[in-house]
């Protein structure tokens, strides 16, 4: 079971969280033209990366905040966690 540092609550066990997918995906802006291909990329197409990966988790049975977690998908090592409004690149 992973041990995830919630930026709001501290170290918590994985069973308090739910997984939310790739954190690097940005929702296209509202009311803006977008090609079918770009929309499909947003809705469906995901890379199944091996290695370091930023992903979203929600601290569902805790503070209910969505957070960003940098995890290695093959070793499960967690390098960093951020609040939802913090930028990955920073």
């Amino acid at each position: 079971m992973l041990h995830i540092k919630c930026p709001h609550c501290g170290m918590r066990s994985q069973n308090e969280f739910s997984y939310g997918g790739d954190a690097s995906i940005k929702r296209p802006e509202l009311n803006k033209e977008i090609s079918d291909q770009d929309w499909d990329n947003f809705v469906y197409n995901r890379k199944s990366l091996r290695g370091k990966h930023w992903e979203l988790w929600q601290h569902l049975s805790g503070c209910r905040q969505w957070i960003k977690v940098e995890r290695d998908t093959s070793t499960h090592e967690i390098f960093n966690t951020l609040k939802a409004n913090e930028d990955i690149s920073s």
């Binding site: 066990s13 929702r27 929600q58 209910r64």
Partner: protein, 998 residues
């Protein structure tokens, strides 16, 4: 029966407490502190079971978790548990056990015929032979094999025992209480670290209980006792016996199973049977020791052949002789320790040592005691069927390929030692890259992946002095990093005998003309010849060889067989062992009770059953309940002998003619507040929300980004920046998470807060033509006229001094209202409604009537919004705003979603107006068409229309907009029904929606 193999005054058992137990229906006696195995051996019982495949007689081979043979069916306090290792099961008064895998009895076993047919049962036999004809596999072969093979039988009764889970955090978790575990725990505890020390056996001390060593001028056993006593008194230390750490998982989390009641006749009141510990440790010290490995020789599975270390432990811990005429067969010094113990207790052993002329202190001691030793000698084969009677022995050449003249000597047991295999399971499970150590012919931990350190014999260190030194150090170094304290402990002086090099010899060649079975894996009957077949047939990878032959599988997971199997494969393949590699070690290390894993997650999974505040009223009024997600809801209120069908019809009819009341507390409710609440709703819902006036409700549909309908419900504007959203009962949690996602991740700039208020409000839906008259009497101070409270209106009501929210919304299609009060006032509201409603002939209605009412109105619910339909499919396209963007809008222009013949909801009526159409039926043009018959659509919901008094269903059907008036067939192969039907509008009753506005 007397305990004829019990020694006087030897061992750690409590001779003051005699215990009676039953094995295979016979009564025996043992002592407190015995295991089932030691007590049976004390009584001279060596035949305990039959082997898995050939049904050969099986005895005892080990003394603990490594035991491959002695698994029994255990009976305790009216319960039964299969596959219990007799070597681990502690004796208690009244224990009952039976042999497994033998019929009709262990002494006369019909399955043993397989033993004489074994030439036909080599590796892969089942795969090859029973493949044809194919249909026979399921009908004949498999059921027969399953009956003939296998071990114990699981109980199918409900388990009355209680199992608990516990979460724990510590600085150092130490697995195993042998010398290394004790030393490391001691220094770490002294440094102030939070330590958990776990021991799988009842007694602490590991190898110190049986070895003749001296630590700090005390015997090893006394030193261990002193350390344990001191540790137990320290507040920062948890010491647990009967606790097996069986799995090492990610992020340094380990799981331990603590047996709390298995050694007692009956679980104590309020005690669990087992406790599963989830332990998150900063550092893990693995001091799991080593397991002796056998030397392979002919008929080496005969009862009476056992590990030499096991024989020693039976003697020293339990005061039991495994035989009175023992033969010790060894390739290293360990065998001599066992021989010396026999000799000291008045039994004359013979030692066969495969080495030519080894020299060491312990061999000298054996010689001085007058023990007969024959160097360069081996056991060729054990003789005897149900018990060893003699052994064929021979000298062996230095290259270990040629045997000398065979000689038969009498013996009643053969104690075998093929050197030691470190127990590296936990280290390997953690991701440690193990390496092969040539000096000890075994794998040891290599580079750690997680924070784990392996000490002592588990790390291939067999010298006590070195073990203690490194373990004191490791405990100190790791703990001082955490506590930043250091308490110097000096390493005590150790006196032990130095060992000489073991012989790299593990398998005795077959003598000419003999075809003895030489077993590698005793639990699964895997012999040397089976591995040879597997390799001959082209299996190369050790993982494949394992699966083809079953080497190392089953309840002992090859603790005594894996390395010898690897040796054999590498010999045949002319490779070195590390090139062959070992199979993956996976948790659990030992079998774990399913009950312990499940814990309290039984029945309703320890989740509370949610009941509305009016639940007890429903109970009193003959409600029949139904599970609705986590809630219990009244399905119908039974009057007299009514059936579900009759009751729901009566309730629904009463709504259409008078007035009914339904408990709608379970609907999801979300409170939405903030400056940007309107803008947020406008993005979440498909219709327009910016201009909803205060005091008005609106129906809304929300989509996922892929255009599929996620949920629907009404949302009411309570005040300028305050909204009350309702969701379906089932989707409440998902919708909240969905809203939180958009607010926190996608549009954090919106100033909006959302919180679930589902449990804060009790809700009652009042529906029917007389509902307004009732409402006016309930709220005399409020104006609830059509003008004062129009359709989709909202007002704050005063229910006899109690604050209420009144919404004029309708799910039934009738003139209807929903009243919400704070949960604590729910029962007051309900009683008032029933009391005042009497004059309007009010009746409560359940979910079945609720469904009927919504279906005949064509209102969609969960069975249509099933995660596969878009708004158009549900005739909700009128709610799609063309002017604004919303979640999922872009997906709706997909080709499939705008296709001319896109599926759409319709109504379905049987032509005969009598036959109910089963939900899930397929709609087809021709019921006799060739298969596969093309499905046009499916029935999503069915009811008996109370308005028209005939069956009515909703369906989602291809090209639905052009299907009205068509005559089709509803087919249900499940219910074996073909029903001619007509397609009609989904709005069967009041298609123009006049009633709700009346």
């Amino acid at each position: 029966m007397s305990q004829g193999f019990r020694l006087k005054d030897v061992g750690l058992i409590n001779r003051d407490k005699k215990i009676s137990f039953k094995f295979n229906e016979r009564i025996y006696y043992g002592y407190e502190g015995d295991t089932l195995a030691s007590a049976l051996i004390a009584n001279g019982v060596h035949l305990v079971g039959r082997s898995f495949k050939y049904h050969r007689p099986r005895g005892f081979f080990g003394v603990g978790v490594d035991e491959p043979y002695a698994v029994v069916q255990l009976y305790r306090n009216g319960e039964t548990e299969p596959n219990i290792k007799a070597t681990e099961q502690e004796l208690f008064e009244g224990l009952e056990a039976k042999s497994v895998n033998c019929w009709p009895s262990v002494n006369f076993d019909i399955g043993a015929i397989n033993n004489f047919l074994k030439i036909f049962l080599p590796a892969g036999f089942y795969y090859k032979t029973f493949m044809w004809p194919k249909s026979f596999w399921y009908r004949v072969y498999e059921p027969f094999i399953r009956k003939a093979a296998g071990l114990g039988v699981a109980s199918i009764k409900h388990d009355k025992e209680r199992y608990e889970h516990k979460y724990e955090y510590c600085d150092l978790l130490i697995a195993g209480s042998g010398p290394s575990g004790l030393a490391a725990a001691y220094t770490a505890a002294k440094n102030g670290a939070k330590v958990i020390l776990a021991e799988d056996k009842p007694r602490f001390g590991g190898s110190l209980l049986t070895s003749e060593v001296n630590i700090g001028n005390q015997s090893g056993k006394d030193w261990a006792e002193g350390i344990i006593t001191e540790l137990k008194e320290m507040p920062n230390v948890i010491v647990k016996n009967r606790s097996q750490i069986f799995g090492y998982y990610d992020h340094n989390m380990l799981v331990m199973s603590e047996k709390i009641s298995d050694h007692l006749p009956k679980t104590k009141k309020y005690h669990p049977n087992k406790k599963l510990w989830y332990i998150r440790a900063k550092e893990v010290l693995i001091s799991s020791g080593s397991i002796e490995r056998p030397i392979v020789f002919g008929n080496n599975d005969t009862p009476g052949v056992m590990l030499s270390s096991a024989a020693k432990e039976y003697l020293k811990v339990y005061g039991v002789l495994v035989g009175k005429n023992p033969l010790v067969f060894t390739n290293n010094d360990s065998g001599y320790e066992t021989a010396i113990e026999f000799k000291k207790n008045g039994v004359d052993p013979v030692v066969l040592d495969s080495r030519k002329n080894p020299e060491s202190e312990i061999i000298d001691e054996a010689k001085n005691l007058g023990i007969k030793i024959r160097f360069s000698h081996v056991v060729v084969a054990a003789q005897g069927y149900k018990k060893v009677k003699s052994a064929d022995i021979s000298s062996i050449s230095e290259d270990k390929k040629r045997l000398g003249k065979i000689e038969n000597i009498k013996c009643d047991c053969i104690c075998v030692s093929g050197f030691w295999t470190p127990t590296i399971h936990l280290a390997s499970q953690s991701g440690n890259k193990t390496k092969f150590n040539e000096d000890i012919d075994a794998f040891v931990p290599g580079i750690s992946k997680q924070n784990e350190t392996t000490l002592g014999a588990a790390n291939g260190v067999f010298s006590l002095e070195e073990t203690l030194k490194t373990s004191f150090e490791a405990g100190n170094d790791l703990s001082k990093k955490i506590t930043e304290k250091e308490y110097k402990v000096s390493v005590p002086k150790v006196v032990e005998k130095k060992s000489s090099q073991h012989d790299k010899f593990w398998c005795v060649p077959l003598p000419k003309g003999k075809n003895y079975k030489r077993f590698l894996d005793f639990q699964n009957d895997v012999a040397v010849s089976d591995i040879e077949i597997a390799l001959r047939e082209g299996y190369r990878s050790i993982e494949h060889v394992k699966r083809y032959t079953t080497l190392g599988m089953a309840t002992d997971q090859g603790k005594t067989s894996n390395l010898n199997g690897l040796q054999l494969v590498s010999n045949i393949e002319n490779k070195v062992v590390p090139a062959v590699g070992h199979t993956t070690f996976r948790p659990p290390y030992t079998p774990v009770s399913i009950g312990a894993i499940v814990g309290r997650e039984v029945g309703k999974h320890s989740k509370p059953t949610r009941k509305s505040p009016m639940h007890f009223w429903h109970e009193k009024n003959n409600a029949v309940f139904v599970d609705a997600g986590v809630w219990l809801r009244p399905r119908y209120y039974k009057k007299g002998n009514e059936t579900l069908f009759e009751a729901s019809k009566r309730e629904a009819k009463n709504v259409r003619t008078n007035v009914g009341v339904c408990d709608v507390t379970t609907l999801g409710k979300i409170d939405i507040k903030g400056r940007d609440a309107a803008e947020f709703l406008n993005r979440v819902y498909t219709n327009a929300w910016l201009k909803l006036p205060i005091g008005k409700a609106r129906y809304g549909v929300m989509l996922r980004e892929d255009g599929i309908v996620m949920d629907d419900g009404t949302t009411t504007r309570i005040s300028k920046n305050h909204y009350h959203m309702t969701t379906t009962t089932a989707q409440a949690a998902n919708v909240l998470s969905h809203l939180e996602y958009y607010l926190q991740v996608v549009w954090p700039e919106l100033n909006v807060n959302v919180i679930s208020t589902t449990e804060q409000w009790a809700g009652a839906a009042i529906a029917g033509p007389k509902s307004r008259d009732l409402l006016q009497k309930l709220f005399p101070k409020n104006d609830v006229s059509n003008k004062g409270l129009p359709f989709m209106g909202y007002l704050d009501g005063d229910l006899f001094g109690i604050k209420a929210r009144i919404f004029r919304i309708s799910f039934s299609g009738e003139l209807a209202y929903e009243v919400n009060v704070e949960s604590d006032n729910g029962i007051f509201m309900w009683q008032k409604i029933m009391e005042i409603g009497k004059e309007f002939e009010i009746q409560p209605y359940g979910t079945e009537a609720l469904s009927t009412l919504r279906i005949e109105m064509g209102h969609v619910a969960g069975s249509e919004l099933d995660g596969r339909t878009i708004p158009y499919d549900n005739s909700l396209e009128g709610l799609l705003s063309k002017k604004k963007d919303f979640i999922g809008k872009r997906s709706l222009s997909k080709n499939a979603f705008v296709a001319e013949d896109r599926q759409k909801i319709v109504g379905v009526v049987p032509i005969d107006k009598k036959t109910n159409i089963p939900e899930g039926s397929h709609l087809v043009k021709d019921p006799n068409a060739q298969l596969p018959n093309i499905k046009l659509g499916y029935i999503s919901a069915s009811c008996w229309s109370v308005e028209f008094d005939n069956p009515f269903s909703l369906a989602i059907i291809k090209n639905g907009k052009n299907m009205i008036g068509q005559k089709l067939f509803a087919m249900s192969p499940l219910k074996n029904k073909i029903i001619p039907v007509e397609i009609v509008s989904s709005h069967y009753v009041d298609p123009n929606g006049e009633r709700v506005r009346s």
